[in-house]
Symmetry: C2
Subunit: 333 residues, 2 copies
Amino acid sequence: MGVSIKDIAERADVSPSTVSRALSDHPRISEETKRQIRQLAKEMGYTPSLLARSLVTQDTATIGVVITEASDPYLSDLVMSIEKTAQTHGYSVLLRSSYFDAAREVESVYAFHGRRVRGIIVIGSQIAQGYLEMSERLPPITLTNSPAYPYSVSCDNVTGAREAVEHLFNLGHRRIAFVGSRRSYSSNQARMRGYWEVLLDHNLPVESDLVFEQDGTLRGGRAVAEDLLSCKPLPTAVFCFNDMTAIGLLNALYERGVRVPEDLSVVGFDDVDFAAHFSPPLTTVRQPTDMMGRRLVHLLQDLIEGEDDVEPEMLPTELVVRGTTGPARRGAR
Amino acid sequence: MGVSIKDIAERADVSPSTVSRALSDHPRISEETKRQIRQLAKEMGYTPSLLARSLVTQDTATIGVVITEASDPYLSDLVMSIEKTAQTHGYSVLLRSSYFDAAREVESVYAFHGRRVRGIIVIGSQIAQGYLEMSERLPPITLTNSPAYPYSVSCDNVTGAREAVEHLFNLGHRRIAFVGSRRSYSSNQARMRGYWEVLLDHNLPVESDLVFEQDGTLRGGRAVAEDLLSCKPLPTAVFCFNDMTAIGLLNALYERGVRVPEDLSVVGFDDVDFAAHFSPPLTTVRQPTDMMGRRLVHLLQDLIEGEDDVEPEMLPTELVVRGTTGPARRGAR
DNA sequence: CTGAAAGCGCTTACAG
DNA sequence: CTGAAAGCGCTTACAG
């Protein structure tokens, strides 16, 4: 159907080998021949089949990215950063969603392998350590926020969460709630741990009815408001798993006439683009999203090149204090 | 390196052809042989190379998606919808960003062609009609919001914009500003046209200093506030190219003490997820994002299958009135 | 400087 | 029911 190297060879009256070499600028082909063949290739609208090339070179120059779902700007920013870095390094990226389902995640990984990607990045893996037991025939796999997995790039979720909760504590808050995400999520576990640690450090009781499990979405944040407001005594502050949850919650609070931060302080996590654009602007923990994308690709690159003695990476977060946190209500102390 | 059909053939003491057929459940292979070979394949950790298969079947079962940049939730939602639909139809998706640059866009299209994708979706094309003059050797290309291009899925930007501006007019607004995006953007042109049409319909002057060119980002929306507020007399309402612009603007207005909607009404476009979660919730024009993604893939599918007599599709929008629009200030009428 | 040949890992008519 | 052969579109030692 398309134009092949053979077609060009015929027209140029040379062998296919020569065409191949001319096109890849092989040193031992005469300039004259090269010029002629390049010209012909252009005329005939030739685009080399990377498919065929990959088969012989054993290099598809492709990486696969498994994402849970991109309805979270943090995740799409991460994907963009990965794609950008990958492209810089000459890789194409294949994308696939797992919809938070372990089976679909694994299926995607195998589908990628079938396409002979050089490496795979799984964002928000549901099985994390599970890859250690199946990595026999698979290409290198890199994970986010799974610091126990040897090939991973995480942000320091525990410390980030600690800083957020310390911040609340320092503002005088003593009843601090946590709205988490899915339990299977390692980043959720880490952030919850940070939350607990601070409470314990300050001899505050860890009350299970101040801990809520949600799904990291706007809707989840909205949905939790009801339960949160029926706690008694009311918490004076809430630390949320991520910005989406925080914003959903803020919205529901606003509708109910709960003032932020006067009645309730709220902290998010991620510092997505529009967190700063919310009113009041959201206090949150910034993740080095762009950096994570870059490190993820570089780590994968190292693994692809056979570099084996790599370490899990842990990137620092940064507390960004804005308008949704303030001193605890007097009466509540 | 990996396990191939040949390796299995040797171990099973049959020919590679038989292995291939057994694995693809060919009817004329004995059940016994099939079972044995499947078993062996599993044991040996065989994953067929779709690369090799594609080369012979001339079908990579892959489509390419060119995106401008996913920092806009509308765009990432669209990509997700495309990916979901593509996966349902057995296609993998290759992703690439153009960063609003025509050259990078075209480069991406050719890169996809090199990988022999079956079709390409370009979101937010910078060259639109340009594809008509180069489609000779390329796979089918489908565009968004370029209704003049024969293979496209658009939402009815003109009508959507008209409804937004009519809504403002009906609230008594007579000085209505427009904050647009890049001029090269066909959806921007269409929305601007809708804006103009309504003004003309009502014999309102079209004032060029009420029309601003921005870039469709939060930052762009923020940046325009200064200029907008220096118009005299002040406009009483603003129609924005998209929700990101509107939210950036709202934020800057809030900081300056301009009340919305009392002092200024604001309308967005897209109805991204968190538009409803903003406070006040954003009045906007809803795009059928999910539907667009599905139609885009189906259209591409038709073209791939040789279905030639397709029509550009135009999907309806829906005005969603929420909290950022209200009656014009008395004095301003 | 150029060509013939083998091979990447599959599929699929063509025989038997 | 199974195999040998050709071929998809390239690259790359091996010769000359």
